[in-house]
């Protein structure tokens, strides 16, 4: 299942400036990464990725890396999948918050995801990179604010491609569910898998903080049980 686009309209502002800006910055950083030779890319990741062992021993870039790691990606597919999800779910969440509050919310979700990952992978010195934690936070916010929002999705049913509109509730819960089992397995085996499932889960549950970032009118509408 792959979400393609949000079919619902924004209420307050049609232009998702900050979502677009985040996508552009991520693309620029990844383009720079791809221009580097292999060993220099590793130096970049080691310096600006989030390495739990260094964080807990107060070495390395610390707070700076907790921000910069969100803008590093492990390749084109990593970048495309993250940025596509950001575009699908970020536009309306940004609309509900406003541009600057959305940016801070995005960064906060990334920081919380990084914190959870650091606590789980405390002994690891492998750098964590990627925007997935922040994006799972955006998806969680979308689930809270627009559970009934309809997302145009690509699915293959017995090799037949289909493009139905599916409620965001089901899509987001699906993506959440496929994190849980591998996360438990990684925790049990105390191994560092290629995918940082705990960062995804941490980012997702940071969505509860969305209420600190909503526009006043969106906040009032939410608590009145009205559509945002």
């Amino acid at each position: 299942m792959f979400p393609l686009t949000d079919t619902e309209h924004n209420r307050y502002d049609d232009l998702p400036l900050m979502t677009l800006a985040l996508i552009v910055v991520n693309i620029i950083v990844t383009a720079y990464e791809l221009s580097l030779p292999g060993d220099e890319v590793m130096v970049l990741f080691n310096a600006f990725g989030s390495r739990p062992q260094l964080v807990l021993t107060m070495q390395g870039a610390g707070a700076l890396a907790s921000i910069t790691h969100m803008f590093l990606h492990g390749g084109l597919m990593h970048l495309i999948s993250n940025m596509w999800a950001l575009w699908v779910f970020g536009c309306r969440v940004e609309d509900a918050c406003g541009h600057w509050r959305f940016l801070i919310y995005y960064l906060v979700c990334g920081l919380i995801a990084d914190t959870v990952s650091t606590l789980i992978r405390a002994e690891s010195s492998i750098p964590g990179i990627g925007a997935s934690g922040a994006i799972f936070g955006v998806m969680g916010a979308y689930l809270i604010l627009y559970p009934g929002g309809r997302i145009r999705t690509f699915i293959m049913l017995w090799f037949v491609p289909m493009f139905p509109k599916i409620r965001a509730f089901w899509i987001i819960l699906y993506f959440l569910a496929i994190q849980i089992v591998p996360a438990m397995m990684a925790l049990r085996a105390q191994e560092d898998y290629g995918v940082n499932y705990w960062a995804h889960l941490g980012g997702f549950f940071s969505c509860l903080l969305i209420f600190l970032f909503l526009r006043p009118e969106a906040f009032a509408r939410y608590w009145a049980g009205e559509p945002i």
Binding site: V55, M58, S66, I104, S125, A224
Partner: protein
């Protein structure tokens, strides 16, 4: 194109009149007034809309003015003449406030205490009704007019209450200041409408926006105001939406940037709060105060917290205070953040990867 526009506008006005009639029959006069004012804004020669406003406009003066408009359009309108005669003889029973008249026997003073109890219990409508009855019996009680000034939502009624207070005591400085403030608010209809919105007085907000629209010539502003009116009319159909209290609003919005900085400090300290330095704690306090300042600065004019914090300075002084507070807030957030990131950068420079 012009003919189609006129026909479309006529059709819209007919629909608005139909809706207004249904609202009047159901007793929703305030909403009906808002619709009728929309009609007269786009069609100032609409006799029917003015005639109905002559019956349901809130103030006696507005009813008279509406009927005068009917007779200016159609001097032979018998219903308008009859209604005008009625109004000239008596003031309508529903008029909420009126100018002072000669002294009458004193009203029951216990009613004032009862009204205060009702206000404390949040039963404002009942308190307002009680105070109106009290004021009709004893118009020379300044305390009653002060309580009414706080209770009545419409700024025109507030002005009447304050004028009555000043008639009783021309030296009342508090009343003078408040009257000046309200008169200033009347001259800024957009800010006034925003205040009504925030207080949940949707009908008054729509009326005020419509009044602002009549005098607005800038197309972009007209578009913005029309959008606001449409949004509020939708809100009228969804009366459950209550505005959030200003204190909760400010606290909520200031907590966001603070949580961001707090997390950065925690990560920089190795996820151990016991390793916080005094610099970290001061930084958190600075960001907290700076965030609050930024949120308060961005509040609309005449926001209750702004008035409570800074009183009511003249407009130019208020702008200067907002700019200064905003700049101070911005620096109080930016400087600790920049220093923290610089310290992280230096730590990166000092880190030797060969040892790990």
């Amino acid at each position: 194109m012009g003919a189609n526009f006129d026909q479309d506008q006529q059709a819209r006005n007919l629909e608005l009149l139909r809706q207004a009639r249904a609202l009047i029959q159901d007793g929703h006069r305030a909403r009906a007034r808002a619709l009728l004012r929309q009609v007269t804004a786009t069609d100032p020669r609409n006799e029917v809309a003015w005639l109905w406003l002559g019956h349901i406009a809130e103030a006696w003066e507005d009813q008279v003015a509406a009927l005068d408009n009917v007779l200016a359009i159609n001097p032979n309108n018998v219903k308008a003449r009859e209604r005008l005669d009625q109004l000239q003889q008596t003031r309508p029973a529903s008029a909420p406030l009126k100018r002072l008249s000669p002294r009458k026997p004193p009203a029951d003073a216990a009613s004032l205490d009862r009204a205060r109890e009702l206000i404390k219990a949040g039963r404002r409508q009942e308190a307002q009704t009680l105070l109106l009855e009290f004021a009709q019996q004893d118009e020379h009680n300044a305390q009653a007019w002060w309580l009414l000034n706080d209770l009545v939502p419409d700024i025109r009624d507030k002005l009447v209450a304050l004028e009555n207070i000043l008639t009783l005591n021309p030296q009342d400085e508090k009343a003078q200041a408040r009257l000046a403030q309200l008169r200033r608010m009347q001259q800024e209809p957009l800010a006034l409408a925003a205040m009504y919105e925030e207080r949940g007085e949707i009908d008054l907000a729509i009326e005020t926006y419509l009044a602002a629209l009549r005098d607005m010539r800038v197309p972009e502003e007209r578009r913005r105001i029309n959008l606001r009116i449409e949004t509020l009319q939708l809100k009228q159909r969804q009366p459950k939406i209550k505005p959030t209290g200003p204190t909760l609003q400010v606290a909520r919005l200031a907590a966001g940037p603070l949580s961001f900085f707090g997390l950065l400090v925690l990560i920089q300290s190795g996820l151990n709060p016991l390793r916080f330095s005094w610099f970290d704690i001061l930084g958190v306090l600075s960001v907290a105060v700076g965030s609050l300042a930024l949120v308060v600065t961005s509040a609309r004019p005449f926001h209750p917290l702004w008035l409570a914090a800074f009183g009511d300075p003249p407009r130019d002084e208020e702008r200067a205070v907002r700019w200064g507070l905003g700049l101070a807030g911005f620096l109080m957030v930016l400087v600790p953040l920049a220093l923290l990131l610089m310290s992280a950068w230096e730590r990166l420079g000092a880190y030797s990867p060969s040892a790990h």
